[in-house]
Subunit: 124 residues, 2 copies
DNA sequence: ATCTTCACTTGCATTTTACAAGTATTTTTA
DNA sequence: TAAAAATACTTGTAAAATGCAAGTGAAGAT
């Protein structure tokens, strides 16, 4: 018998938030080993699936396509055509996605200062 | 038997880095759904194991103790005694850990602006 | 028309996470 | 001082996420 906390799944497939804390919600959406690396690539000007795959960390393609889908659903990323008239896709950050720049920049600054052996990529 | 210090696998069990990118290294260390919530709690002034457990997100205790161990090993957190003379433990951020504040603040700002239904906890 | 590239998807083994329960100290209470 | 409660975990196990290799169909190039 379920005691205090109701366990029922809401009808919509919205991933449940753990709390209303903005940090917790941020992590619910972007907090894993790969998602913010895709955002980093986008901030660095990369836009194609193959470019994300070619990044030195080597993201698996199934993970990448799932993350791109989630970021697109959440309005952080949008699809465009890779070149005028082409049916191949590319991705770019929405305004909401661009607004993640300060987060990535503060992470980069911390890493450069506090983790040995890191070195900055060109620029963000 | 490796006679001299092999370059491939250092004797300590340092988790392999995916690349020298400071963002990637940051995520190797802190990039999951729970670790930065512990840092958030520490920035909010919480210091005891039970306080972290009592946070609204409900971190499982095995995850919490593993994360505290890792953060302590990496010099982000240090142990202190919970009250003078007590043998119970508490935790606090080192200087390196305090330096994570801008990261948490930018995440918080993004969440408040771009994710509905989030509301700020007291202050950080 | 054929070949190659692109952007995925699928299947499966491995790893990590979540949840419940248990345990050894330490501290408080009677 | 003995019993009870709190503290800070550990252990076991089911569920979910991840990592890797291989496969697929549409698009573009030759």
């Amino acid at each position: 018998m379920p005691s205090s906390r109701a366990r029922s799944t809401p009808p919509s497939a919205a991933p449940a938030r753990r709390s209303p804390c903005p940090v917790a919600c941020f992590l619910d959406l972007l907090g894993d080993r790969w998602t913010l690396l895709v955002v980093r690539d986008l901030l660095l000007g990369r836009s194609r699936f193959k470019e994300f795959v070619a990044s030195p960390e080597g993201i698996p393609t199934n993970i990448l396509s799932e993350r791109l889908r989630r970021l697109t659903e959440q309005g952080v990323v949008e699809q465009i055509e890779s070149s005028p008239g082409s049916k191949h896709l590319a991705y770019r950050l929405t305004r909401r996605g661009q607004a993640l720049r300060p987060v990535l920049e503060s992470m980069r600054a911390w890493g450069l200062k506090h983790l040995r052996g890191t070195r900055a990529a060109l620029e963000e």
